[in-house]
Every structure is written in C-alpha cells, then in structure tokens.
C-alpha cells in the first residue's frame, strides 16, 4: 500500500514536473554541441551531443500524441574546385539517414524514444531525460571507410533536423510555413 502510494506520488510529481520544467520552452532548436568519430573495423562510428529545445507548439503536439521524428543525415561530398570546398555546389557522393522518434506514452505517462532503424525503444518519465537521451548519440555506425577512401578529397557533413515529412499531413503544411516548427542545424563537417 505504501509502495503504491509512493509510486502514485512519484507519478504525480513527475507528471507535474513534466509541465513545470518545460512550461517555459523557448524557441525550438537543435544544436550539435559535440561531434566526433571513431574508426572501428573499417566503420566510422559517430558520437554526438545534441541540445534539443522544443517550442510550445511542439510540446503541445507531443503531449497530445503527435510523434516527433528527428532526422540525422550524413552526406559525403566531393569538392568541385580543387582545394576549395563549397558545400552548395560540391558533388553529392553518398548519404545516410538515421531517425529517432520521440513520443508520449499516455498509459504509462512516459516519453518513449525509439531508434527507427532498429526499433529499439527506451522510456523516460521526464521529457528532459528523454531529450537528454535523444541528444546523446554514442557509437552510431554510419559510414564505411571504404566510401571515404574512394577519393582523398571527400569530406562528410552531418545535419540534424525535425523531420517534417513524418508529421501528420494537416500539420505538415503549417510546419512548412511556421518558423516554430523549422528546427534544424546547419551542415557541420564531420569527416575527416
């Protein structure tokens, strides 16, 4: 009984926490705070830290059951003009995507983070934990070395953004237009 009451209390507190901590969400953004790679057995593994902030609309959508998908894209470019790499016109050689879904589970009052590639699901009682977990990407195998070896001049970039395409259709139009939904980072050089 006591346990039950404790659990209940914890749940309630956490429920309240959910609201309290993130009531003052600011402008939605995602920022790459740390980025490095590890080469293990001919595969480049990515370690990255992301800072994720949700806007009020995103939070509301999330809590009403709309899943938010974050898309991580890695692209490999070949510079067109000698030593200068201008990312807008350099040639696309290869790209790979990784998606993470953040969703609110009403029954257990938890936030679920799912890696859409392997459908591995992790649950969190607080949004903050979920976002922290989401923002801590470790040992993500993305790129075979052999791809980079094709040309010495090749370089890789990474970008993280909210995948608007995965939003339900009625929201998509709004998301395309409104700034509060356009959450993304700039292309950041990863390799070499």
């Amino acid at each position: 009984m006591k346990t039950f009451i404790n659990i209940f209390v914890v749940f309630c507190l956490l429920g309240l926490c959910n609201q309290a901590v993130f009531a003052a969400t600011g402008k939605a953004r995602v920022t790459i705070t740390h980025l490095d790679s590890e080469l293990i057995d001919g595969v480049y593994y990515m370690n990255t830290d992301l800072e994720l902030v949700l806007s009020k609309e995103m939070l509301e959508a999330l809590q009403r059951g709309v899943p938010l998908v974050y898309l991580l894209t890695v692209r490999v470019l070949k510079p067109r003009f000698g030593g200068f790499s201008t990312q807008n016109i350099d040639k696309h050689v290869y790209s790979v995507e990784e998606r993470y879904e953040l969703r609110y589970h009403a029954l257990s009052r938890q936030y679920l983070v799912t890696d859409l590639r392997n459908t591995k699901q992790t649950s969190f009682y607080t949004l903050r934990s979920a976002l922290e977990y989401l923002g801590t990407i470790r040992d993500l195998p993305l790129l075979k070395k052999s791809i980079m070896d094709i040309d010495k001049r090749l370089y890789a970039q990474v970008k993280v953004k909210l995948d608007i395409e995965r939003l339900p259709v009625p929201l998509k139009v709004r998301a395309y237009v409104k700034k509060s939904w356009r959450v993304k980072t700039r292309w950041k050089n990863w390799l070499p």
Partner: protein, 747 residues
C-alpha cells in the same frame, strides 16, 4: 476586332486549357484525399500543393492579363470589347456567387462535422479507459514488486556464488523474464534471462535512483515495442551490514498478451484521438486551403469560359457591328461569312442581303440623280441660250429661276440670278425697266386663267421696247397653285417690221389704186370746162366754173391725202445725223411766232441737251405737226399758250431726252386718248387725222416713244416725245429682226 478574336483563339486555345484544368482538378482531388492523412499521398501533398498553387497562379496571371487587355480595348472603344466585358462580368458573378456560397457552406459544414468527431463524452470515456488500464497495470505492478521484494529478502543473506546458481530458479519461480543482481557501480553480480538479450537500461536513471534513495523500491511499466509491455522492478537487497555493498535486483516481468494488447489498443486510441484533436484546426485549415483552390479554379474556369464563349458568341455580333460601321461610312462591299445556323446566323444572312439591296438602291439613286442632274444641266443650258426671258415663280411669288436672256431683256447690269429665292417684288425694284415690267404683269399674274398673254411697252436704254409676255400657271399633282412660268420676248422690231410691212404694202397698192382714177377725173373735169365754156351763158358759165373748180380742188385734195398717207405708210428709212434738237425746235417754233395773235409760244430748252442722232427733216415734220395740233386745240382765243421744253434724263439703266409740247387748249377726251395715235382719229373738222399717227411713226422709227395726256391742273394737253440719248444705232428693221432670230441682238 479581328485581333480580339484572334487573341482569344490564339492564347486560350481550347484543348491545352482543358488539359491544364483537368490536371489541376486531379491534383486538387489528390490533395483532398491526402489531407485525410493517407500515407500514400502524404509525401505528395506538399509537392501537389506547391505545384497546384503555381499552376493556379499562372492561370490567374494569364487571365488577369486577358482582363487588362480587355479593359484597355474598352478604353480604346474597339468593337466588341464592351460586350465581351459585360459577358465576362456576368460569368464571373454567375460563377463566384454559387461557388462562393458552396465554399462558405462547405467550410462551415466541414468544420462542424470535424468538430462532431470530437465528442467530449468520447474523450472522457477514452480517458476513463486509459485510467482503467493504468489501474489494472498498477495492480499487477504492485504484485510483481511484492514478488521481487520476496526474492530480495531471500537473497539478502545468501552469498554470491549461491545466488549465481539459484537466481534462475528464483526467476522462474516468480515468473520473471529477466533477473539481474547489480552491485556497486553497476557491477553485474548475477543474471538470469529467459531471452537472449539483456535489456538492462542505462544507469543511473534519476527517477529510479530517486525512488531508491527514498528507501522505496522501484516498479515501472516499460513499453517494449513489439513485445508489448514489460514491468520492471528494482528492489534493494537488504544489506548484511553497513560495510557490505549495496545491491539491487533488477527484474523484468511480462504482462499477459491480452492485457498488453488491450492496454496498447486503449493507449493507441487515446493517442490517436488526442493527436487528431490537436490536429483539428490544422486539418480544417488544410481543407479550407484545398476548397479555396477549388473555388479559385472554378472562378478562373468561369472567366476563361467567358472569354472563350464571348469570342464565339460575340464574333458574329462584332462582325455585324463592324460591317454596320462600314456601311454607314459608305462601304457596301463588306460581306460577313455565315458561320452558324441559329438566329445569329440568320441575322448575319439578313444583314448581307440588306447590304446588297441598299447598295443597289444607292446605285439606282445615284444613277437617277445623275440623270436628273444631266437633265437639269441640259435645261439650264437651254434656258441659258434662249433668247426669250424665262422667269419662274412659285406659289408664294418667290423667284425660282431667271435666265440670262431675262437679265438682258430687263436691262439689268448685274445678273438677275442673284434674285433667285427672293420675292418677285424685289425684282421690280432693280431698275426702271423691271419696275414697269412688274407693274404691267402684276394683274396678269394674280388673275385666275391658266394662260395669259400681254404686250408690255417699256422704255429702256435702247429706247422703246415692246415685249410679248406669256404666263403659264403650274399646277401641282393635287391641282394646287405651284407657281408660274413667265416668258417674254422682245418683239419691238418684229412688231414694227410687221406693221410697217403690212401698212407699207397696203398703202402702196391703195395709193396706186386710188390715184389711178383721180387723174382721169381731174382731166375730164378740166376738159369739160374747156369744152363747155363757150356754149354757156354767163350765169351758166359761172356755175360750171365753180363746180369744175370744186371737183378739181377735191381731186387735188384727195391726191395729196393719198400721197400723205403713202408717205406715212411707206416712208424710207430715216437718215440719221448728229443734230442739235434745241436748235431745230427753236427754228421751228420761231417760225410760228406771230402765227396767231392770241397765242404765245414759248420754248425752254435744256442747255445740257446732248446731240442726238436723228433724221432732222422728219423731226421737223414732227415738231410742225405737234405745234399745229396745239394751235388747233387752242383754237380762237386770246390766252393761248404753247410751251415747248426739252429735257434730258440719265440714270443707271437708261438715258433719254424728252421733248414736251404743252398747250392750254381743249385737251383730249378720254375716249380719244385711247386711239389718239391711230391713223384717222381726229376731232377736227378738217385734216386727215394722220398727224399724230405720223408723229408716232417717226418717233418710233427713231427708237422713241410718244405719250399723250391731259394737263393735270389746268385744261389742255401734254404731248411728250422720248428719244434715246445714247449713241443708238438704229439698224434697219430687217437687219435687226434677222439678228434677233439668230440670237445676236445686242442692246
């Protein structure tokens, strides 16, 4: 106009436009379906939205430019532009109003029906279901926790080796999927799992640690994707002593499939409902956008249809309008092709026929006008070349035509054509000749006979003129007075020629005939006297002498009368020479001074009298005759007066001289005044009565006129002789009449 039609046709040709519209319609439909969140189309949604908007904007732009061109055409007043504009406007109204209404209502109904999906009761029941699920899980979770706690109590006083061996049994005993004993720093002491993979979560988890720190064991529900739900417990193993490490047992319990499934369904339903509710307003908005695009499409289609239909429908009307313009400018050659077989086509056909008929009528009118013109010119030429004067007046006595001969005959210095349009009265005031002319024909014009004829005596620049004037009344086709034609001809010389010829011939024959017996009579009488003189006594001789004398005297008198008459009738042409009339008259009147004591004769000459071309002998004869007549009229009295005057007149139209002989005698009776100048008219006992007739003849031969009247204030008569003063060439009568006939008479 052509360019308007061509523009319509060229730019908005039917087939590509319809294809375009069809494409837009299809993509709008797809968008509508996609808006309901169907995955199939959801990727396409944004693409379609953008492409449709672009297409519609292109359409909008092209139609707007058509509209602007139309407005410009209207400003420039191109044929058909205004009609097209009105048609387009009507179409826009007809299109927008119903479509707009449908749009408004659709949005409303759509909104209402979307709103109706979200019933508060359903929301509550979903929440209740969720709550129920939670409660049932709570119950189960509590159970599992108790089980875990039992296990940890068991484990608390066993060592690690034994735990390692027996963990599996414990796990199976409580029915857990997994059990893991963790020591300090998350060191795995022992582990047992029904599955291959360990699902140890990353530690530390704040919430769990928090709970443990409070002294409470943790139990939580973990959604595990495909595996449904799992219940995880984290129980602290009671420590053996203060120095022993803190150990926790992490267990993972399954949830029955059915419960999982149901709970999952509730959770999913709740989530979907919630997200749908959240998406309510964006959903409504996306429908509004789609419907609005449809509205726009409908309107643009209507406008395009307006242009196309206007082009088709109005093309014959515009062509008609243009052709009508051309016809009004006189171009009858435009033919409009008949393209359709409806009322408009019929109209076009009728128009073509009408144009042809109008053209024919116009040509006929032109032809008849030419003919009339030709006739008029011909008439003008004829009139112009006539030697007779022709004056026509209308019913209001306004001058309608006057020909050149009239101008000449009436001696106007300026052409009388300028008087056309003015009343006849104004003609009268041009000069003396016209005045006399008018006075003399005035009565005739006003009388009722259809045809009239009159001789008019005028005194013009060339002297006496006699015109024969004929009038013919014109009647309109309703027998109304339509004016008159007045023709006049100068018959002066013809008259005198005719008359003289007649008289002369008669006189010559008669004189000859009369004279023949006269001589034998005289001779016989003289012989008788001579023979019988000796046979008779004194008394008888006296009687015989007296009788023979009487016979011889009378025969002589008759001879002289016959001679006189013959002279009068058959006198030769006057021989003109420049004479001073004053001198002439003075000499004659001088001769009569003292002729009769009781009568004074006075001569007042006009000193400025010019020389005139006259036959002096004849003029002398005239003066003699007149003076003698005056003496005879005065008779035996003591206060007889004879006044002779000469005077000169000169004005614009004529110049003449007058000789006036006035007496204070008995005057002329009214009866005699009529035939005064006719031969053998006399009031005298003696005399032939030829005196004045001879005077008239001589004066008229000189181109002059004789006028006689009584004195106004006193008794006595006034005889006026008027002679032309200009260097008038008296032609021989035969010459004159010949010239007249040939139309060369100049006056």
């Amino acid at each position: 106009m052509e360019e308007l039609v061509a523009m319509n046709m060229r730019f908005l040709t039917l087939i590509p436009m319809l294809i375009l519209f069809a494409m837009i319609l299809v993509s709008l439909y797809i968008m509508g379906t996609a808006a309901q969140n169907s995955d199939r189309f959801s990727e396409l949604y944004i693409v379609l939205l953008v492409s449709n908007t672009i297409l519609l904007l292109v359409l909008l732009f092209s139609i707007a430019s058509r509209l602007i061109t139309l407005v410009i055409n209207m400003r420039k007043r191109l044929t058909g532009a205004r009609l097209t504009w009105r048609l387009v406007l009507s179409f826009i109204f007809v299109a927008i109003i119903p479509v707009g209404l449908v749009y408004a209502f659709s949005i409303k109904f759509l909104g209402s029906s979307i709103d109706s999906w979200f019933d508060v009761k359903i929301e509550h029941s979903l929440e209740d279901a969720l709550e129920l699920s939670r409660l049932s899980f709570d119950y189960r979770m509590r159970e599992q926790l108790l089980l875990s706690e039992d296990v940890v109590h068991e484990l608390s006083d066993e060592n690690e080796v034994i735990i390692e061996l027996s963990l599996n049994d414990y796990r199976r005993g409580v029915g857990a999927i997994e059990m893991t004993l963790l020591g300090r720093n998350n060191r795995i002491i022992a582990s047992s799992s029904a599955e291959r993979m360990l699902s140890v979560p990353k530690f530390p988890r704040e919430d769990i640690l928090f709970s443990l720190a409070q002294g409470e064991n943790y139990v939580g529900l973990e959604p595990s994707g495909k595996d449904g739900f799992r219940i995880r417990t984290v129980a602290r193993v009671p420590s053996l002593g203060p120095l022993s490490e803190n150990r926790v047992l992490v267990s993972l319990f399954p949830v029955p499939y059915r419960m999982s499934e149901l709970a999952d369904r509730v959770q999913v339903a709740f989530g979907e409902y919630g997200s749908l509710d959240y998406l309510r307003s964006p959903l409504k908005q996306s429908f509004m956008v789609t419907l609005f695009l449809v509205l726009l499409l409908g309107t643009l289609f209507a406008i395009w249809a307006a242009f196309a239909i206007a082009g088709r429908l109005l093309s014959p009307i515009i062509k008609l309008a243009e052709a009508t313009q051309a016809v009004s400018k006189g171009d009858y050659s435009k033919k409009i092709p008949v393209e359709q077989h409806d009322e408009l086509g019929f109209l076009v056909q009728s128009f073509n026929e009408m144009t042809v008929r109008v053209d024919h009528a116009r040509q006929a009118a032109e032809l008849s006008q030419n003919v009339a013109e030709g006739q008029r010119s011909y008439l003008q030429a004829v009139l112009g070349n006539l030697s007779s004067g022709v004056v026509t007046i209308d019913a209001n006595r306004t001058l309608r035509t006057i020909n050149e001969a009239a101008t000449i005959l009436l001696e106007s210095t300026t052409p009388l054509q300028r008087m056309i349009g003015r009343p006849l009265r104004s003609l009268c005031m041009v000069n003396d000749v016209t005045r006399t002319f008018c006075e003399q024909i005035k009565q005739e014009i006003d009388q009722l006979d259809q045809v009239w004829e009159k001789e008019i005596k005028l005194f013009g620049a060339g002297g006496r003129k006699i015109l024969i004037c004929r009038g013919i009344k014109l009647l309109s086709n309703r027998d109304k007075d339509d004016g008159q034609i007045i023709m006049f001809e100068d018959i002066t010389s013809i008259l005198s020629t005719q008359r003289d010829a007649a008289w002369g011939e008669v006189a010559r024959r008669w004189a000859h005939e009369i004279k023949n017996p006269l001589t034998p009579i005289q001779l016989s009488a003289e012989r008788l006297e001579h023979k019988l003189q000796s046979e008779l006594n004194t008394e008888q001789r006296k009687i015989l002498k007296r009788s023979i004398h009487t016979i011889v005297q009378q025969v002589k008198a008759m001879k002289s009368m016959v001679n006189e008459f013959r002279d009068y009738a058959d006198s030769p042409q006057p021989v003109l020479e420049e004479s001073d009339l004053n001198e002439l008259i003075a000499s004659i009147s001088g001769m009569y001074m003292g002729y009769h004591d009781g009568v004074t004769i006075e001569f007042k000459p006009d000193s400025s009298l010019p020389l005139v071309m006259v036959d002096p002998g004849r003029i002398r004869q005239v003066v003699h005759n007149l003076i003698k007549n005056a003496f005879e009229a005065i008779g035996d009295t003591t206060s007889g007066e004879i006044n002779i005057e000469t005077r000169q007149f000169s004005n614009l139209t004529a110049s003449y001289i007058e000789i006036v002989v006035r007496d204070n005698g008995v005057g002329i009776s009214a009866k005699m005044l009529e035939d005064l100048f006719e031969p053998y008219v006399t009031n005298k006992q003696s005399g032939t009565g030829l005196g004045l007739a001879i005077v008239k003849k001589i004066i008229e031969e000189h181109g002059g006129m004789v006028m006689a009247r009584n004195n106004k204030d006193s008794k006595g008569a006034v005889i006026t002789l008027r002679l032309p003063a200009s260097s008038y060439q008296i032609k021989s009568d035969s010459e004159y009449s010949k010239q007249q006939l040939e139309g060369e008479a100049d006056i």
